[in-house]
């Protein structure tokens, strides 16, 4: 009956039943070599050949099905953590197996655990660790991981020994001080698997989570060392242990932890380097990530270093570069596979833990020991946390308050690592092993089940600050940037350099060497968490929009939860609606690469305008969420750019306030057109073209700086086509889509003149930063073509500095030069830009086409026109018109067929302007 009812659980019975009734299927005995095959077999039963993998697969299947069943009821999973349910299921299954097979089977083997089950979980947590948060709290994490674990191990061990001396532990437990210390070392470490399983459901605030979780990851090194040292001391016998052995023990702490981290970093380096060259074999990218990370784990394990630390560091270290190098689909694949493996391993671990506990042959009970251990681990954990937090709070910006400490103490869950370690003990050397096993099982079960069950109500009751998942808004993004800039400035004013200084130094190094070496030249596209959230939000909005698409079509109020309605709805509502509901049919919640609607594209565009265009603050303070690291090259350019802007602004305000210079619109400045191909484009004058030099005062009320220059610098317009660049771009890598680059720069004569007279300073124009394209952009329809041309416009800013500002100017210049590289070296070189991202296209190509729906969908035409006419000073108009045809054509190539009426808009606007 049982066999029939439980076909899955009965697998051992299948094997057993096989032996009992082999003749029922007469052809089945293929395994026996002695018997010649009786002719052609119609049916073969070869259980033994597939037994091992079959069982593994079935166990995973059982675990997965159990997971599904648990999640059928939301009520259960909201109250009980999954890990508890799995352990209980394991207990039940173990009981059934024990009852049926009369012996305990399928237990958690330490070998399996350490070699196969643990690595996916650790890799997952290391790879997806919010690195900014992690490093911001590194001090606290390291303190808790090292000092805390040592404290827990020694105090628990010593206290248990004292308990035994006092006679509370039964005399059958034959253990000395060293045995108890060994036990203390394995029972003291907070377990990453258990912590992750419980805390992921509790949603405490990020800082609290990263501290507890980071501690559980990093304390592995300490645990391994303590365990090994104590184990070898026990095996040597306490009499033979010499003073040098203690010293070796201390030294091995450093060797194991630093060695493990070093192994991880070496493999992270290799991994990043390898993925740099996978452009043509995208398909193996995910595999490489897993292989090299696993290799790191195995290498560290082989060298008996801290394998957990190795794989954590590998994940942490490689992520930035790997994510930049691999394709979007590979990124998704890596993410999903990693999550799947980790979840699978976690499930199996908890289930096997439950099953293993059933085997009563392995353990022996001693109430004194069990209760004493439970009390001591809780007590000393709390005491240690309080003491360490007190010290740490002297140094923290945000002190950890009492409630945090309670959660941290209570969140010190023990798990499968402790169990696997205690199973590994040698019974001949450690006579009390069985008692230790029982105690460990009880401790693990108690922490996972009791504490896991109660921590959620506790967190609620204590009103611990929870992590909030709110929708990021444009406002937040902008204002937080402002905050960062403000803090950076205030710190500069105060003249204080601390942690952020070293962060800066590291990022400098990273920019100069690591990123250069490890990142694909084209891979300055950066993804960050904010973008991910934003992206997901947009998808959801799109879906919810399409869900109610039917009625929305008729109404004019196009509002989405996260997006306000736009002013321009009236004008563009038809196109908007068409674009927005156009892709509705393709939206499938199950597909990984979600099809984006036009609106999402716009959001992507908008986001990238901000993301790529916003100046990155040099220092950031608190990681609410880890943003991407700053691409350093961009940083340097940006510094110069900002410097120039600021100087210009100061100069203007200086001029206007002190000298009362009356600005007049000056005539177009003399322009020597054409090195190379400059003469190539005046042939198509039908379209106006506006050369928007960014330095030319786009703001209302700000006047073009060189209008007032008495000695205008000549500007040479250099146009380089793709072929020419190919010939002389020996120093830069050829990328997918390159384009024409316009660089306008001052002639050397002017430069020299300026230097001679001392009244003219020429500042190099910053190179234009190509904003990072993302996956979204890569998939956009008009991005798929390879033949587009990129147009980059830059212009030299030439400034005249009045004599009485000379000193201040020079000081600023020289102080800047000491900071950044010499300003003049970079500008004249025509640098190839990385593949033209969408934002660049958005910013350059449709510059003069305000009605292009992609760029100005939310933009009332009247405002657009006003803005244009404001910035479009008459000084530059002739040249702009001369240049316009190129841009017009350029834009034509990008117009997707669906936006036919944008042509109309373009023409309308043009005619209204001319």
């Amino acid at each position: 009956m049982l066999r029939a009812a439980l076909p899955l659980l009965g697998l051992p019975l299948v094997g057993a039943g096989e032996a009992e009734e082999p003749t029922s299927e007469s052809e089945s005995e293929s395994g026996s070599p002695g018997e010649p095959p009786p002719g052609l077999a119609l049916f073969r039963w070869q259980w033994h050949e597939v037994e091992a993998p079959y069982l593994v697969a079935l166990w995973i299947l059982v675990a997965s099905l159990a997971k599904i069943v648990f999640h059928l009821s939301r009520k259960v999973t909201s109250l009980v953590p999954e890990s508890c349910l799995l352990i209980l299921l394991g207990l039940v299954l173990g009981g059934i197996v024990l009852a049926v097979a009369k012996k305990a089977e399928y237990q958690l083997e330490p070998g399996t655990f350490f070699l196969f089950l643990l690595p996916p979980i650790v890799l997952d947590s290391g790879y997806f660790m919010p690195s900014r948060l992690f490093f911001d709290n590194l001090g606290a994490i390291l303190t808790y991981a090292v000092v805390g674990t040592l404290w827990n191990a020694f105090t628990t061990g010593a206290a248990l020994w004292g308990l035994q001396q006092a006679g509370f532990v039964g005399p059958r437990v034959q253990a000395g001080l060293l045995d108890f210390l060994l036990f203390g070392s394995l029972i003291s470490a907070v377990d990453p698997v258990a912590v992750l399983a419980v805390f992921e459901e509790v949603h405490v605030n990020e800082t609290l989570f990263i501290i507890v979780f980071g501690e559980s990851l990093l304390n592995d090194a300490v645990t391994v060392v303590l365990y090994k040292v104590c184990n070898s001391f026990v095996e040597m016998g306490s009499a033979k242990v010499q003073a040098t052995d203690y010293l070796k023990g201390v030294a091995s702490l450093f060797v194991v932890s630093l060695g493990g981290a070093a192994v991880g970093l070496v493999f992270a380096f290799l991994l990043a380097l390898t993925t740099r060259f996978t452009k043509r074999v995208r398909i193996i990218e995910p595999l490489l990530v897993f292989l090299l990370a696993y290799a790191a784990y195995l290498t560290a394990e082989m060298a008996s270093l801290s394998a957990i630390l190795a794989v954590t560091m590998c994940g942490l270290g490689c992520k930035k570069y790997v994510e930049a190098n691999i394709s979007h689909k590979s990124r998704t694949a890596v993410k999903y596979t990693m999550k799947t493996l980790a979840s699978c391993a976690e499930t199996v671990i908890f289930m096997l833990l439950g099953i293993s506990a059933v085997d009563s042959s392995k353990w022996a009970w001693d109430s004194g020991l069990v209760l004493g251990t439970l009390f001591f681990i809780l007590f000393f954990r709390a005491l240690g946390v309080v003491l360490q937090t007190w010290v740490l709070n002297q140094f923290r910006l945000v002190p950890l308050d009492k409630i945090d400490q309670v959660v941290m103490s209570y969140g010190g869950l023990r798990g499968a690592v402790a169990f696997a370690l205690v199973i590994l003990l040698d019974r001949t050397k450690v006579p009390a092993k069985d008692y230790f096993v029982a105690t460990t099982i009880v401790v693990v079960f108690f922490t996972v089940i009791v504490q896991g069950l109660t921590i959620k109500p506790l967190v609620k009751w204590l009103k611990v600050k929870r992590s909030e998942h709110h929708k990021p808004t444009l406002n937040q993004e902008l204002h937080e940037h402002t905050f960062d800039h403000i803090l950076a400035a205030v710190e500069d004013v105060v003249g204080h350099h601390g942690y952020h200084y070293w962060r800066d130094r590291w990022e400098q190094f990273d920019k100069k060497y690591l990123s250069q070496l490890l990142m694909r030249r084209s891979a300055y596209r950066i993804r960050d968490q904010i973008w991910d959230v934003y992206y997901r939000l947009n998808i959801r909005d799109a879906i919810s929009f399409v869900d109610q698409g039917g009625h929305v079509l008729s109404s004019t109020g196009l509002t989405l939860p996260s997006m306000p309605s736009r002013n321009s709805v009236a004008e563009t509502s038809v196109t908007n609606l068409l674009r927005e509901s156009g892709s509705g049919a393709c939206l499938d919640l199950q597909v990984i690469d979600t099809v984006r609607s036009g609106r999402d594209r716009e959001d992507a565009v908008m986001h990238h305008l901000l993301c790529g265009g916003l100046y990155k603050p040099r220092r950031r303070y608190k990681a609410g969420c880890s943003r991407h690291f700053i691409s350093e090259e961009a940083q340097e350019r940006q510094d110069k750019e900002v410097f120039q802007q600021n100087m210009k602004r100061r100069l203007e305000s200086f001029k206007s306030t002190k000298h009362n210079i009356c600005f007049t619109k000056s005539k177009p400045r003399p322009r020597k057109a054409g090195r190379k191909k400059a003469c190539a484009f005046p042939g198509t004058p039908a379209w106006g073209w506006r050369l928007t030099a960014p330095s030319q005062s786009p703001l209302p009320g700000r006047l073009p700086p060189f209008n007032s220059c008495p000695c205008p610098a000549a500007v040479i317009l250099t146009v380089e086509s793709e072929e020419e660049e190919e010939s002389d771009s020996s120093e830069t890598e050829k990328e997918d889509d390159e384009g024409i680059i316009f660089v306008a720069r001052a002639t050397s004569e002017v430069l020299q003149e300026g230097k001679v007279s001392g009244s003219l300073e020429v500042c190099p124009s910053p190179r234009i930063i190509p904003p990072s394209p993302t996956c979204a952009e890569k998939e956009l329809p008009w991005k798929s073509g390879q033949g587009e041309l990129a147009v980059y416009v830059s212009s030299e800013t030439t400034k005249i500095v009045p004599v009485d500002m000379q000193t201040g100017w020079n000081q600023s210049i020289s102080s800047l030069e000491s900071l950044a590289s010499p300003p003049c070296t970079q500008a004249p070189t025509l640098t190839r830009l990385s593949p033209r991202p969408l934002a660049a296209e958005e910013s350059q190509a449709p510059l003069n086409l305000p009605s292009d729906p992609r760029s100005s969908f939310a933009f009332p035409p009247s405002l657009a026109k006003a803005g244009r006419s404001r910035s479009e000073s008459s000084a530059d108009l002739p040249r702009q018109q001369e240049l316009q045809p190129l841009m017009g054509q350029e834009d034509h190539t990008h117009l997707s067929p669906g936006t036919a009426n944008s042509h109309w808009c373009i023409q309308f606007n043009r005619s209204s302007r001319l």
């Binding site: 406002n475 003249g495 002013n567 916003l614 040099r618 600021n646 100005s856 405002l863 657009a864």
Partner: protein, 249 residues
């Protein structure tokens, strides 16, 4: 609109029972580069009422005890911290007249590459003045002092401390609000965007970003962001943390 908190006259409710002998300030140990010949001179922070009056007067000034005490009350900084900042102040003060000018700030090299550098410098200066004394300097910096636990409960009915959440937010708000009408208009937002955004974004795009930002925050439909709306959009942001520097503790 209401006067910004930095200018509001304030009455301090907290009375520190600290030995005034301890507060005798000797800035010299903190000023290594100070020429010994000057040590005899008294340095005074010019009084708040007439910051312009010391312009060019080169008046010898002294950071007096009572001034120190007042600064401490007003800003909540420790004496050691004030001393340190005073030495920083004097080292920035190239004119050696006890006040800082815009040029003094602009000499800080890192500020020149901060996109909002000039706005932030401006925030140090009271309305219509181009000199700031040590007291004003401290008052501005006090916005960035972390909020301590004991401050959260205390002083409920006293004046709002400078480093309160709303004051921190107001500081940021004032960076946007150039014309001081307690609203961030589209043009003001555009100006800040233009400073913070690289050159490769067109005006039209910036305009649509600004529009959308305003629409997102705007509740009363006036196409501008008022301070209330500003606070509202940032209510989920941990401003206390993101606008604090530990150094100013």
């Amino acid at each position: 609109g209401p006067p910004s908190p930095a200018h509001r006259p304030r009455v301090c409710s907290r009375v520190r029972s600290r030995n005034s002998a301890l507060s005798l300030l000797d800035p010299w140990p903190y000023l290594p580069s100070f020429p010994p010949s000057r040590r005899g001179r008294y340095w005074r922070c010019c009084s708040r009422g007439a910051p312009g009056s010391v312009m060019g007067s080169r008046a010898s000034t002294l950071l007096r005890d009572e001034e120190l005490e007042e600064i401490k009350k007003e800003t909540g900084c420790e004496f050691g911290q004030i001393t340190r900042l005073y030495s920083r102040f004097t080292s920035l003060d190239k004119g050696e007249n006890g006040t800082l000018s815009r040029e003094d700030f602009q000499r800080i090299p890192e500020l020149a590459i901060n996109p909002l550098g000039d706005r932030i410098i401006n925030a140090f200066f009271p309305e219509g003045e181009d000199q700031v004394n040590f007291r004003g300097f401290m008052r501005t910096l006090a916005h960035f002092r972390p909020i301590e636990d004991n401050e959260k409960s205390k002083d409920v009915n006293g004046p709002e401390p400078l480093n309160s959440r709303s004051n921190k937010l107001h500081f940021a708000f004032r960076l946007y609000d150039l014309d001081k009408d307690d609203k961030i208009s589209r043009d003001e937002l555009l100006q800040v965007l233009r400073m913070m955004v690289g050159v490769n974004i067109s005006d039209e795009q910036l305009g649509s970003i600004a529009d959308r930002t305003i629409q997102e925050a705007d509740q009363d439909g006036d196409s501008a962001i008022s301070f209330t709306e500003f606070v509202k959009v940032l209510e989920k942001v941990d401003v206390e943390q993101k606008m604090s520097i530990r150094f100013l503790h």
